[in-house]
Each structure stands twice: as structure tokens, then as C-alpha cells.
Symmetry: C2
Subunit: 190 residues, 2 copies
């Protein structure tokens, strides 16, 4: 049990041991409930057939909602990026989840990113803007450039979230690249 | 000695003890050199009479340089902000160092920020743009708003460094406010 738990991301051997001992002291019903939930995870959760986000239905809640702006698609690397953006309420359009990024080391190529599905949606669903919100780092930017190249000449605006100083931070602790972006992208102050 | 060292920022009692013991084992000449440097710190380092950054001369190197863009003044809170921006090479203009921020708790008011000197420079030195680069957090933004109000109608463009996703980061770990700024400030991708 400890060996299996220690393989989970973010858990070391010590944490795994602590969890195992905690479960030993828990009621049989609690442990049973956790076990059932784990069993259902793989059988009931799948990827949305439209946007590839995780979903319990064939089409996820965002894709089937009638309250979303269907003219915008935001491309992200992973389901947890959708969670963060949804929590922020910064965006009310649809998504396309790459389930990875271009990465020769990991053997992820263009075919793994579901881009054929994205192109289909663009040509048939009235998409006006694709916001490429891959991570703002080297691998994410390379993936964004590749996707922007594919989308060129297809009649959609291709954008990315703005770069600059992250709200809530201190200049003292920022990287050079963030300062370069921020001074390049100056905003007028009223 | 340990008590005095432990008062320095970033040093706890343990580190202070380690430094004291290290100095005990160092050569008398090394300790003497450190002592002399410390003595010179307060007598030889002052604030530049133009921008208030730390300087060994009456007017600092940036203010007296002939290679800087003298039409721009960047307002920062502290001398270490100047260091970070200079290291980034994101900016080649002049500075005004507030030596603090508006802060009722610390008793820092407008008069402590050297704004009279800044206004003098703007009216007499051909300044075209003031970039208010206070920290992108609540206290920094309040200070920026206050200064922007004072600069209004004085014939200078008032800007701030752009807000958004900091280069080199991951969306997963950013605050809500950074995502809000980033989706608001979208950039076209070619």
C-alpha cells in the first residue's frame, strides 16, 4: 500500500506511510467509500468528445452549456489549466485541451494534441477567436507557435493571454523575461 | 556580535552564529577589511540628489550618464527595484526612487516620497513619459494611483509596466488576478 501511494505525484514515502496509517485507523465505511470512488474514477470519467477536457458525460458541461460564448476557443495544455481559468472567471468561452504539449523528449507530436478536432470545430462552429493559453514558458511557447502556424489563413483571430507583471507580486522577485515583457507592453494609466 | 548580526534581514540566530564563528577563524586582515567597508557604507553612500537612488556621488551614475533616454522617468519603490530593472536591460531611461510607498500604517505619506522633486524634473527636464513601476500589489497600486493623480494635466504620458502572465511560469500556479489581467490584455499571435 505504501509503495503504491508513494508513486502518486507529490507524495513521498513519509506522506504515503502517514496516509496508510491514517486509513488503518479510519472506519471501514470511510475506506470502502474511498475505494469505490477510485474504482469509479477510471470507469466513469472520460474525455469530452468535443474539447478533450475530463468529463463524466460524452460532452462536458462547458461544451454543452448554453451560457458560454461559443465564438471563442481557449487552447490549454491540461485539464488543470481549465480548472484554474474557470476558477478565475476570466473567460467565458469554450476550450480545447491538448492533453500535453509538443515535446520531442516525451514523444508527443502534433497528432497527439487533437488539432484535427480543433480545425473541424473552427471550420464548422463559427469560431471567431482562438486564444492559445499554453504555459508561458519555453515548451508552451513552442507549442503555441506551432498551433498559430496551423491556424494561419483559416479566418480566425489567433491571440494569447497578455504577458507582463503578475498581479500580487513584487518586482524584486520577478524574472528578467517578465520585466522585458512588462516594459514592452506598457499600459496607459489614467 | 551574534545578537547584532541576527538583527540583519534574512539572518536568524543560527546563521548569525555561523558567521561570527567564521569571522573568528578568518585572518585579522579580512575582518579588518570588512569592518572598514562597513564603516564607509554610512559615510560614503548617500541618495542621489536627482533620483534618490543610492549613490556614492552627489548625482548617481544613471542620472549623470550620457547614454540614457532622458525623456523617460521610471518611478520605483526601492533601490533594489532599480537593480532588478537594470539587470533585465528592459529599460534605458532615468528613475525616481520613492524610498517607500504610501502606507498609513508605517506613517509614510506623500511628503516622504520625494514627489516635489519629481514634479520639478517633469516641468524642467523635458520628460515625456513617466512609467510608474511600483510593485503590482495592493499597496503599490494605491501608490501608483495617487502619483498618477498628481501627474494629471502636467503634459506627460503616464504609463505602467504591462500586467499579465509572467514569462517562465505555469498557469497552474498563478493567482486569479494574474489570469484576469492576462485574458483582458490579450495579444495577437502572428
Amino acid at each position: 500500500m505504501i509503495n503504491r501511494l508513494a508513486r502518486l505525484p507529490g507524495l513521498g514515502r513519509r506522506s504515503a506511510e502517514r496516509i496508510a496509517l491514517f486509513l488503518l485507523e479510519s472506519s471501514a465505511a470511510d475506506v470502502e467509500a474511498l475505494s469505490t470512488t477510485l474504482g469509479r474514477l477510471r470507469s466513469e470519467v472520460r474525455h469530452c468528445s468535443v474539447c478533450r477536457n475530463i468529463s463524466t458525460a460524452e460532452i462536458c458541461e462547458v461544451c454543452s452549456s448554453t451560457h458560454r460564448d461559443r465564438t471563442r476557443v481557449c487552447v490549454v495544455e491540461m485539464p488543470h489549466d481549465v480548472s484554474r481559468i474557470e476558477e478565475s472567471e476570466a473567460y467565458n468561452g469554450l476550450y480545447h485541451v491538448l492533453l500535453g504539449r509538443l515535446s520531442p523528449e516525451l514523444g508527443k507530436g502534433p497528432d497527439d494534441l487533437g488539432l484535427d478536432r480543433l480545425l473541424q470545430r473552427i471550420s464548422s462552429d463559427g469560431v471567431a477567436e482562438v486564444i492559445i493559453a499554453t504555459n508561458p514558458n519555453v515548451a508552451g511557447d513552442a507549442t503555441a507557435d506551432y498551433i498559430a502556424g496551423i491556424l494561419k489563413g483559416r479566418g480566425v483571430n489567433v491571440t494569447r493571454p497578455g504577458r507582463g507583471l503578475p498581479a500580487g507580486s513584487q518586482i524584486e522577485f520577478l524574472r528578467r523575461e517578465a520585466l522585458l515583457d512588462a516594459f514592452r507592453n506598457r499600459e496607459a494609466l489614467e
